[in-house]
Amino acid sequence: MTALSDILHLLVTANLWQATLAAAVLLLLPALGGVVSERSGVVNIAMEGMMLTGAFFAVVADLALHNPWLATGVAMLAGALMASVHAIVSIRFRADQIVSGIAINIFAAGLTVFLINRIYGLQDVGHVTQSELLPDIKVPALDQLPFIGQVVFQQNVIVYVALVLLVLTHVVLFQTRLGLRIRAVGEHPMAADTAGINVYLIRYGAVITSGLLSGLSGAFLAIGVANTFVPNMTDGRGYIALAAMIFGKWTPFGAFIACLIFALGEAIYANNSIIHISQYLLSMLPYLITLIVLAGLVGRSIPPAADGLPYVPGSE
């Protein structure tokens, strides 16, 4: 009972919601990537691995270049590189896309630790100094608004970037010619092909976009939220982003709402100093919430019709 009232008390603090938004953005970026990839018809469960790769290379680059912006760029490229492996294997070689995704995730987990070992020996990666972190930015004037000011306008720079990307993804997918083509390829690739659209090109582009976004999220995690890399530091966020994408019915804003719900669980856990429950039990929250949400979804979520199906020209 005390736990319940503690949580209720926590729910009205701006700190909690500020943390929730930041945590949600970590999920939102790969979730947006997932939306784009699956809208084009390529199932992508590799966000976890692409994010982890991004996080690792963000730290490596930041330590070497002492520039968080360049490091973020490197992280995005690393994510995109992993994504292009998934793209080639799934699109060109028509592999089972779930197997390929799992392989990416295992590959990323192995490669990052392997490379730590090769680059830094068996010691720690090392920490990024304050000046090498992605900065927090207070939006002048707006950050003084009661409650909202702290929650929305005192955030890391990547949070603002992510919110812009959220709107951008929505507009591109549903208002532009490119979006129409991406969705056509995901619904009925042969219809798109017969209409003269290059199915493979669109799919490659969409999958690589998901890598860029996941890499960005990894950079945010490693040199925005934490200041170092630890093995498996993504801790299933790529998978939760996947669930958020499904819960959000393959739409950017739907996914964002789902991310907020999942992030709230994580933020409660992170702010648990006043709650008297084992932190380990609280750690289950995001996963339990995901599970319950999926169970309660009662299947009203319909994926793009050709999601997960390799395209073979001329075959019906």
Partner: protein, 511 residues
């Protein structure tokens, strides 16, 4: 006409798929401004040839000449730019997109950086509508339109891309007789404004009605070039099959027995949750074939599924002899003596990856005949059973271990027919039993159905081919919009059946 230049010339086209020579040195030419029919049985290679012309497939060898120029068809983009448009048998439409988006796809009008311009899309469609008289609502959701309008959208899509050569692959397969008539008049109008049309079909009556010239294919080869006005149905059929074909079924008059199945005021919903059966009543007798005629989508599929125990009825009763079987599941019904040949053999009738032996016990794996304690399979008994079916039903296969996927359509269908008839059912539900199979298999399956009747079984037959219903049935029930609107004798003229099938011809208050 005969002086018109060649719009399309394909020379020596060869296309090999693993294990099949789909096109074997095919020569094919079409003159500008004609309606040219390409006919042949399923698997004769018509669609392969047209997919090559449209750039979806690449030939192993051979040459394509369009308007006098040899071309390399790298993909549909090239075909489109050469003025070729194709309306596929399975529409290339995206159900969740609007009509406008579907038509514009690939050639979208844009405004600003890359925004899809709905206003200009609408204007373009209105312009096409005016020019060709093909009315369409650009904002309607494609999936909500009836098939006839979807096909119209496909044609508009092709015209929007500026096609002068239109390929139509089995365009009437899904249309009502009325819609087919409308399509034909549209095609005639298109020819008048200078378009060239290639019309793929296996329905000979239509071919004779609409085309100027005919090319016949059999087993990957061209076996005849005909001038429509100088030929007839028998000649085309003989060329298609490679031997003389009996276009009717041999059977003795029926001697119907007692009532086998009684259906009372049956109602059910479709997959989309809308009422599909709105009070169906009829009696099916032993030793008779009751055929159900109707345009597809008027509740026949749902009726068969409810009777077979696969779909739940929302009201009414089904009696087998005197036993109420309305709520029974598929297994219990089968045990009670109801066999079911489903309409989609590749999707629902067979597990394509399974061998013939495995498919021969589908749904029967827990019966005492094929397993101990419903659990451990009796492999020897299963193999003996499968061998018997292969022999009795003339399934052409090297062994019972061949995967169903690797059989021809006709032999796949025979596996289903064998499995369902092999258990000596009291009632046989046969949905589209000969759809898409070769004429040899059609003749065989027809004989088996008649034999089943002669041995006393009650047969309920659903077929989209009116000729099949008329030649097999002892009585014909006409279905329209979820109801049986009339029960007719098999020698009822086709015109009257056609009228009944489209909702006409009944006195008010009938049904």
């Amino acid at each position: 006409m005969s002086e018109a230049p060649l719009a399309v010339e394909m020379r020596g086209i060869v296309k090999r798929f693993p294990g099949v020579l789909a096109n074997d040195h095919v020569d094919f030419s079409v003159r500008t401004g004609e309606i040219h029919a390409l006919v042949g049985e399923n698997g004769a290679g018509k669609s392969t040839l047209m997919n090559i012309l449209y750039g979806l497939l690449h030939p192993d060898s051979g040459e394509i000449v369009i308007d006098g120029k040899t071309v390399h068809m790298a993909g549909p983009r090239e075909a489109i730019s050469l003025g070729i448009g194709m309306v596929h048998q399975h529409f290339m439409l995206i159900p969740v997109f609007s009509v406008g988006e579907n038509i514009m796809l690939g050639r979208e009008p844009v405004t600003g950086p890359d925004f899809f311009d709905r206003r200009r899309a609408r204007a373009a469609i209105e312009d096409l509508t005016k020019r060709y008289g093909l009315a369409l609502d650009p904002d309607a959701r494609m999936g909500d339109l009836p098939v006839g309008l979807q096909q119209r959208a496909e044609i508009v899509k092709v015209l929007y891309r500026g096609a002068s050569i239109l390929i139509l692959d089995e365009p009437t397969g899904v249309l009502t007789p009325q819609e087919s008539k409308e399509l034909f008049s549209v095609l005639r109008d298109l020819v008048k404004v200078g378009k060239t049309i290639i019309f793929i079909s296996h329905k000979l009556k239509e071919v004779l009605e609409i085309s100027d010239r005919i090319t016949v294919m059999r087993r990957g080869k061209v076996v005849g070039h005909l001038i429509t006005k100088d030929t007839n149905e028998e000649e085309i059929a003989t060329l298609m099959v490679g031997r003389e074909v009996l276009l009717r079924v041999d059977k003795k008059p029926a001697k119907p027995g007692g009532v086998a199945m009684k259906v009372e005021d049956l109602t059910a919903s479709s997959d989309r949750g809308v009422p599909a059966l709105k009070g169906v009543s009829f009696e099916l007798r032993y030793a008779e074939i009751l055929g159900i005629a109707g345009v597809e989508g008027n509740g026949q599929s749902e009726l068969m599924e409810v009777l077979a125990g696969i779909r739940r009825a929302t009201g009414g009763r089904v009696l087998l002899a005197d036993r109420d079987i309305t709520t029974m599941d598929a297994n219990t019904e089968r045990d009670a003596g109801v066999a079911f040949i489903p309409e989609d053999r590749r999707g629902t009738g067979l597990v394509l990856a399974f061998s013939i032996a495995e498919n021969s016990i589908l749904g029967r794996e827990r019966t005492a005949k094929f397993s101990w304690n419903e659990f451990v399979l009796k492999l020897v008994a299963i193999r003996d059973w499968a061998r018997r079916l292969v022999k009795d039903f003339d399934i052409r296969t090297p062994s019972i271990d061949v995967a169903a996927r690797n059989l021809s359509g006709g032999n796949q269908q025979k596996v289903i027919v064998a499995r369902e008839m092999g258990g000596n059912p009291k009632v046989l539900l046969a949905a589209q039993p000969t759809r898409g199979v070769d004429i040899g298999a059609i003749e065989f399956i027809h004989r088996q159905i008649v034999k089943e009747r002669d041995e006393g079984a009650a047969v309920l037959l659903v077929s989209a081919e009116l000729d099949e219903v008329r030649s097999l049935s002892d009585r014909i029930a006409v279905m329209y919009e979820g109801r049986i609107v009339s029960i007719e004798s098999p020698d009822t003229p086709e015109e009257r059946l056609g009228l009944l099938m489209t909702g006409g011809g009944t006195r008010a208050g009938a049904a």
